[in-house]
Assembly symmetry: none
Homo-oligomer: 401 residues x 2
């Protein structure tokens, strides 16, 4: 039996509340003085909490696998990221705050330059046109209509845009139109199975109309579609866990992924302080709170060790306010590691702290990567986190008699 | 390849002997002075043994999942409890010592009260009639015969009884007859697939005859059948491991589960001391000994920390006698945790101690939950235990060339 089915079968209601505090890209590598960002940060509150907690290390997807934001969060939410995949088009659309639903089909679009005579691509990024130009072109493309389907186009950044179709019976087994090099014509969308024929037909109609509109533009007189994908149709948190869950996040991408699993996305401002206010204000309305801190990851991506330390320290200062709410279960971890030494996501395990009222404490008294190696949780997978949290919140009944 | 198939393929014979000592519900949570029951207990013998052993923590089914006795033991025996399930009817029958075999179909029965005019249920438990009354009614129901099937009915407790049918071609995809509330008539058994039609037919015939017999009884003038299930037809220990295995247990349930995997169930009295005598007396006849201590779990279920400590201490006093037998492999663990703080089974990992003559020792010198967090076995699953035990007893050959 798969974990999700087991959760569907075993979940029961309780009045206990769970907070999943995710510091994006939390895991690090030794930098200054041989310490990771989390170890170098002054985190008296998390250290104190670790004494009443059990800690360990968690692998997001599988050993050695560096996750993108999609798989990192899906696994935190308890959905096997090797089974449930979020297509790139869907992530692109979510990343700019577009709402998707199970009828949606989303694609990443690139404006490109075509040779007006031969139609072959001369620049796959249309000279990296500025975002304003992109927005103006998208405005023109918004005029396209096709019978039987709702169409939304939105600018992303530079030459990139997002296209979402919404209709019954769309499917995502489709080829991309970008031939991946210049000197070739854009390809047609091809259906890779019968169910996807309708989608291919809609997209090819859209492309024909788009090319007609763009014909006299320079340099962006064409476009390609990539990562065409359906909303993954994930079973909701209510269905899987019986939870009334909300998402407190500042970036559209994370709001979007939360919406895919049926969380109510709250308006949380754009600082950790405003997110904390949102948490407090909504405390009585939900029993599960996904709380996302973005800037640990941004600092890591920038290779800025000190900035990442500062975000961790800032987050730590809010722990007392979180504990004042008296959560029954509090998990602190990240979706994936983003060591500033690597300036990118990495495969490294995440330190994880699990506080609960009836916890089997371990001997660890600080929160950091090396300390967590000695933790009582041992080495777990991100997909284990939700079942463990549910158990500690008395939300799972016995399996078998 | 599934683990069971791997074991079937790789097992070889050796003259070495394995003891699996299961203290039911062993795992605990911090109580007095921050120690678990096992940590609080004086266990000089197990502590001494831990110096020549490797220890760790083991998850019965999956992280966060609280197992019933069935899944807890199946996983200890090396059968994936998410794949092999023991139905409630089967457990009920095993629990009162009924013998089952792959031709058996078992159900839990409840006597109930019916409105004599309308036939709707007025009390789903027939006023909780005493066990003696139940036994007398079961005696009357024992007269029922149906051509082509052997039928056994036995009283369980209060209003509950167990019904076992035995015939070729029975199957267990069947609905229950209890409508789950009063004011409704008992339902007919329905087959959920073609193979189960014969079983549904037999059961509905039995119910009609039972209702005729009970018609003038008060308050128990009807009955319902629930948890109707086939013997799971597990491959035997001889087949999977090549082991000549016996079970030394005091409670019918554990004897029954052992019988499901083909262990010879020995008459072991009803104390740990009598179980030890049975172990000694049968030492030359078997190469695998499942030794079950029940009362750790009973004390945990009662929320009686001190009583659980005492059962652990009593068990510890018998360790020297066990070691005098010179077992090649001795495993000490539990089927699931039953912390007295929770008064119920729980999902927490089990401390496990593995003694073997050629063990790779770790640094741990006591046997307890927190000590085991530092153990050399790390965090394993219950289904890992049998392969590890087999390996230490030289009973597994190399996989692949």
């Amino acid at each position: 039996m798969k974990q999700i089915d087991l959760m569907k079968e075993l979940h029961v209601s309780s009045d206990k509340k769970i907070i999943l505090l995710v510091m994006d890209g939390l895991g690090g590598l030794p930098g200054k003085e041989g310490k990771t960002e989390l170890e170098a940060a002054r985190t008296p509150n998390m250290d104190r909490l670790s004494r009443d907690s059990i800690v360990g290390l968690s692998t997001p997807v599988a050993p050695g696998i560096t996750p993108g934001s999609g798989p990192g969060h899906l696994s935190l939410f308890g959905y096997d990221p090797l089974e449930h995949q979020i297509g790139r088009g869907v992530l692109e659309a979510l990343g700019i705050g577009m709402n998707l639903n199970p009828k949606s089909l989303a694609a990443r679009g690139n404006f490109c330059s075509l040779d007006p005579e031969t139609g072959v691509i001369t620049d796959r990024r249309a000279g990296r046109i500025p975002t304003e130009k992109c927005a103006a072109l998208v405005e023109r493309l918004s005029a396209i209509t096709i019978e039987g389907v709702d169409i939304i186009v939105r600018p992303v950044k530079d030459y990139r845009f997002a296209l979402v179709l919404e209709a019954d019976g769309l499917a995502g087994a489709l080829t991309e139109t970008d031939p991946q090099k210049t000197g070739l014509k854009p390809l047609a969308v091809e259906a890779l199975n019968d169910e996807s024929r309708k989608s291919a037909d809609f997209l090819n109609q859209w492309i024909a109309k788009a090319f007609a509109i763009l014909k006299d533009e320079r340099p962006a007189n064409g476009c390609t579609l990539r990562g065409i994908a359906k909303d993954p149709g994930l079973p909701s948190y209510a269905e899987v866990y019986g939870l009334n869950a909300c998402a407190i996040a500042t970036y559209p991408m994370y709001k979007g992924i939360s919406r895919l699993v049926g969380m109510e996305v709250l308006d949380a401002g754009d600082t950790i302080a405003s997110e904390i206010e949102t948490l407090k204000a909504s405390w009585n309305r939900f029993d599960f709170f996904f709380f996302h801190v973005k800037k640990t990851d941004s600092a890591g991506e920038d290779g800025n060790f000190d900035a990442k330390v500062k975000v961790i320290e800032e987050t730590d200062t809010f722990i007392p306010q979180i504990m004042e709410l008296d959560p029954d279960v509090l998990i602190i971890t990240g979706d994936h590691s983003t060591p500033s030494a690597l300036k990118s996501h990495s495969w490294h395990e995440l330190p994880i702290l699990l506080y609960a009222k009836n916890i089997r404490r371990d001997m660890v008294t600080t929160f950091g990567e090396v300390a967590c190696m000695q933790g009582g949780l041992g080495h777990i997978r991100h997909t284990d986190i939700m079942p463990i949290a549910m158990a500690h919140a008395d939300k799972l009944t016995k399996y078998g008699a």
